[in-house]
């Protein structure tokens, strides 16, 4: 035990004696570890954020759409051939599925401009057309004014509910309610303002939006659109039953034969989470690869510096052996030194990873969380690299002949 402590002291002494050289040697390891820690922090943060954001959907809600949701590549042509989901589908689901409490249909168009006589937003506003039930299924809270209702929908009234980002641009310091805005050249009356919602996954602001009745939306953006249908079951226990009813109904409406594949996609909260987790695994594996590569580079750095160190200290090794150090002791001394060196690199990397994660939080706007297992793994891996690449120089030191070694300059 005291031998181990002596070796630790010697190793730290070497580091202190050559701080710049040691730090330069460690760059590879620092980069590798910083990559892993920050990427894991990002992924972990994203995961928590996704779970949180998806919880808006509610445990008893699922979505039906023409396009598959989630992440990853898919065959665009195959899905384009599918029939559009319509207002009639929406109504049918509500009427004929006993386990369904509420159905909302919505569609959206990004990159829109909203203007008043005095001001104009950038062409980045997300315009959503939705049925009044969207307020419940999408978990929307109106901070000021009201959401549109059945009458607005049926009559296709030109009313909008604005997100805070849009309000801030068009009506700074004013009450927007009752005012008129223009979208695609048409006038709309502001009837409500959404509560601040922040951003989804830290990248898309959820407040940069304008909501209007679906009918009004379709009259501007065209009727030939496939709607996204949100279905809310009467209770979380009936979610699967509601899904089954909806599936049967839509298959019948689309005249699918038994054995045909569904020509629509159903997404639950859970399936979103699942596909996100798949994505995050891919990112994790990729960043792990980057990390391994930098660790190998760092390991070669350590190999190099340890060979230099052994050469420089040949005399010291000779003296130690003459005074009674056994081979194993010398081996342990230099292996410890390599491991400590690598661990210092790992620790700096972890620190930088935390720094990057913090920077990411600040830039991306969501909390990044450094998982402790990533820190532990990084430190274990860097000491492993130190050991693997430090063992050869250490073995060389251990084999030195004391007489020869003491004669070295």
């Amino acid at each position: 035990m005291s031998g181990f402590l002596d070796n630790m002291r010697l190793a730290l002494g070497t580091f202190v004696a050559n701080p710049l050289r040691s730090l330069l040697t460690l760059i590879g390891i620092v980069i590798g570890v910083a990559t892993v820690v920050s990427m894991m922090a990002l992924i972990e943060g994203l995961r928590l954020k996704v779970n949180h954001d998806l919880s808006f959907l509610g445990a008893n809600t699922f979505e039906v759409s023409k396009w598959p949701s989630g992440f990853g590549r898919y065959n665009w042509r195959k899905y384009a051939m599918r029939p559009d989901l319509t207002v009639e589908d929406t109504e049918a689901i509500l009427e004929r599925s006993p386990s369904v409490l509420r159905v909302a249909a919505a569609d959206d168009e990004g990159g829109q401009k909203v203007s008043t006589a005095d001001a104009e937003t950038r062409p980045s506003v997300f315009v959503v057309g939705a049925t009044p039930t969207y307020e419940e299924t999408a978990g929307i809270t109106v901070a000021q004014g009201r959401f549109f209702g059945e009458v607005d929908e049926v009559e296709g009234r030109a009313v909008v509910v604005l997100g805070l980002d849009v309000v801030d641009v068009l009506f700074p310091g004013q009450d927007p309610l009752g005012k008129e805005v223009r979208i695609r050249g048409r006038p709309y009356r502001v009837i409500g303002v959404l509560q601040k919602r922040g951003s989804f996954l830290g990248m898309v602001s959820l407040d940069n939006m304008a909501l209007m009745p679906l009918r009004s939306f379709l009259s501007v953006y065209g009727m030939q659109r496939s709607l996204d249908i949100s279905v809310q079951a009467t209770s979380p226990e009936l979610l699967e039953k509601a899904q089954a009813e909806t599936r049967t109904l839509l298959r019948a409406r689309h005249k699918l034969k038994p054995g045909d594949a569904d020509d629509f996609d159903m997404t639950t909260n859970e399936s979103m989470t699942k596909s996100f987790n798949q994505l995050s695994q891919v990112i994790a594996v990729a960043s792990f690869g980057v990390c391994l590569l930098s660790l190998v580079v760092g390991g070669i750095g350590i190999l190099n510096i340890m060979l230099v160190s052994v050469t420089e200290r040949t005399r010291e090794i000779g003296v130690r052996k003459a005074l009674g150090a056994r081979r194993k002791r010398i081996l342990a001394q230099f292996a410890t030194e390599a491991v400590v060196l690598a661990l210092v690199g790992g620790a700096i990397g972890v620190g930088m990873g935390y720094g990057l994660a913090f920077l990411g939080r600040w830039m991306l706007g969501f909390h990044t969380v450094v998982p402790l297992w990533a820190v532990a793994l990084s430190l274990v891996m860097s000491s492993g690299v130190g050991l693997v690449f430090g063992i050869y120089p250490a073995a060389r030191a251990a084999r030195l002949d004391p007489v020869e070694a003491m004669r070295a300059d």
Partner: protein, 238 residues
């Protein structure tokens, strides 16, 4: 009898040629004796010193040190013997430059596996014995040559070895400082230490009670220091 050397040979192969550094050396040394090993360069005295110091193993013959046959031991076994039995004092001091005097003196005790507290106490005592107490926290480059050699002597003494082995201990010192170191050796001898001093300086060998002269890998003279150092059988300088 502390040391018994019987017909020791040592050959090296250098570039395909066999060099006979020792051609059959035998002598014995009792506890408490002080002997100088003298000879010109190439006489085999460095090889002798390495063999006696367990830094090298003989090609033939037998070397008994304190009751153990060390001529056939493995590297690690020899390391253990060096640690327990031998205190080295080198011409170039061989102190670790980054360590303080105290840490340097502690070193043999580190490899003996002593606890730090006991190491420190014994190292302080050894440094006190050589009169360096005020300098224990200095590094070698902050010490004079004489002080460095005193640190080295303290390091040789600290583990209480049965043999002190000094290789040209005054070779890198001016004559006044060298004289101080020789006086220190005399004190150590009177205190009962067994000392082997390897040197090429006759004046130094003459101060020892006994001297052995090596030439061409053989003992050519063995007797009172003065007689051997300036004796008639001294070879001409090659």
């Amino acid at each position: 009898m502390l040391i018994s050397v019987e017909d020791i040979t040592r050959t090296y192969v250098v570039g395909g040629e066999t060099v006979h550094a020792l051609r059959g050396v035998s002598f014995t040394l009792d506890k408490g004796q002080w002997v100088a090993i003298v000879g010109q360069s190439g006489s085999g005295k460095s090889t002798m010193m390495n063999v006696l110091g367990c830094l090298d193993t003989p090609s033939g013959g037998r070397y008994m040190l304190n009751g153990q046959d060390v001529s056939r031991m493995s590297d690690d076994q020899l390391a253990g013997v060096r640690n327990r039995e031998i205190g080295f004092i080198f011409q170039t001091f061989q102190l670790l430059p980054r360590e303080t005097a105290l840490a340097n003196v502690e070193l043999p005790l580190v490899y003996r596996g002593l606890r730090p507290k006991e190491r420190r106490e014994r190292a302080r005592a050894a440094l006190d014995k050589v009169g360096l107490t005020p300098r224990i926290h200095h590094r070698p480059n902050e010490l004079s040559g004489g002080q460095r050699q005193r640190v080295a002597i303290a390091r040789a003494l600290v583990a209480e070895p049965s043999l002190l082995l000094a290789d040209e201990p005054t070779g890198n010192l001016d004559s006044a400082t060298g004289e101080e170191i020789i006086r220190l050796f005399e004190q150590l001898h009177h205190a009962g230490h067994t000392i082997i001093l390897v040197t090429h300086e006759p004046k130094l060998a003459a101060r020892c009670p006994r001297a052995i002269r090596l030439s061409d890998g053989r003992i050519v003279d063995d007797g009172r220091g003065e007689a051997v150092a300036f004796g008639s059988r001294r070879e001409a300088v090659g």
